[in-house]
């Protein structure tokens, strides 16, 4: 098994660690970097519980190997709040009952975050497309869609700059 040195930028901070080249980014984030918001559901790219933003795009972290993540810029839920102030998406999710058991929430939030990075004023169809890879077993989809829509509105009104770590 080959171990390698990996450099990533995690939530704005450069990091360097050693990991087996074939270890999943999901396990690196949870076990080596303490990002426990990232959840393992299916481990096969079917459920979206492990979605993080990698170089500006939502990806299933269970389907990225350490060797593939080397050099990437990664954002997880831990990077959303800015100086203790929740990101508009986080606030909308909690205020609008967008999660019940909460297991899908980090993945949903990161899919939504990636959407708003590219599309600040998404249509309902675009919101639905953005979260189609995220399964919610409590079936809170409608509340999730409404929360994303509300957060997009708040961001546009400039209530709070997006909590991008580099903002």
């Amino acid at each position: 098994m080959s171990e390698m040195r990996i450099r990533v930028t995690l939530n704005g901070a450069p990091m360097e660690l050693r990991a087996e080249a074939g270890k999943s980014l999901l396990r690196i984030l949870r076990e080596d970097l303490g990002m426990t918001s990232v959840k393992e559901g299916c481990g096969q790219g079917d459920c979206g519980a492990c979605v993080v933003v990698l170089d500006g795009e939502a990806v299933n972290s269970c389907l990225v190997l350490a060797a593939q993540a080397d050099g990437a810029e990664i954002i997880t839920v831990e990077g959303l709040a800015l100086q203790g102030v929740l990101h508009p998406l986080q606030r909308a999710f909690s205020e609008m009952w967008a999660f019940q058991c909460g297991f899908c929430a980090p993945g949903m939030l990161m899919s939504a975050y990636a959407l708003l990075l590219h599309t600040p004023s998404p249509t309902r169809d675009e919101i639905e497309e953005a979260i189609e890879g995220n399964l919610c077993r409590c079936t809170s989809y409608r509340a999730v869609i409404e929360a994303i829509d509300a957060a997009a509105g708040e961001q546009r009104r400039g209530g709070l700059a997006a909590g991008a770590p580099d903002a």
Binding site: A21, G22, L63, L65, A67, Q68, A114, G133
Partner: protein
Amino acid sequence: MTVPDVLSPSTLTEALDLLRRHAGRARLIAGGTDLIPRLRLGENRPAVLINLSRVSIPGLRREGDWIIVGAGMTHSALARAPEIRKHFPALACSCQSIGGRPVRNRGTIGGNLANASPAADTAPALLIYDAELRLLRSEGERCIPISELFTGPGATVLREDEMIVEVCLPLPRPRSGASFIKLGRRQSMAIAVVSVAARLTLDAADCAAEVRLAMGSAAPVPFRAATAEGLLLGAPLEEERIRAAAAAAREAAAPISDLRATASYRSRMVEVLARRALYLAWEAARV
């Protein structure tokens, strides 16, 4: 999962060299959306993974009457590329139908083809556009039509040291229309029960000058329904002919029963979807 060694070349030449040196015991990994789950299931045990994430293959360019697509382009990138949406809408649509957003953001067109799933969503679309594949290995290169790639479920004519580097698409002639329809158990995150792509090119007399009809998940490999195409070629399009062509497509299909659908349901759906796909292509060609 038993993780093989991962090698990360930084150039295409280096990658091909590694592939030659480890021929027979290595797999290339691009997006990994298909390969990684298979590794975890233990279906596939290569000793070495050759990671292509540092190898840059140009994305998309035009060369005369061709659009050349780099094999490393993701499904998301293809689905939103203006040249693909404009000239190859059925391909854009097939890319958009794959998995969910996070899968499309990683999975590549080269990987979708090399994995050779009978249900590969991009295959029927590439078949109707007469795509050609540029294959590279250390000792040289060759081009093959997409129709010659697949030899069975998970099997291709690719040599052990060979890589798909480009997908070459000839621009369709004017008055062409195309469509892609995927039937799955749900709209996203679903493997196709059946998928059908169609393309029609009309001549000045509104007769079908070119006909393409291709299917996925309907046989051991994605394929073109030649008899069905022949029934429409050179004649004015009309309902009866389209029905006959769809019935011929059903005859040509040899689907299996699996957890997604029975063979008999798939056969019936081939006919229904072929008819719909031909109508949609016809409609698009007349615009």
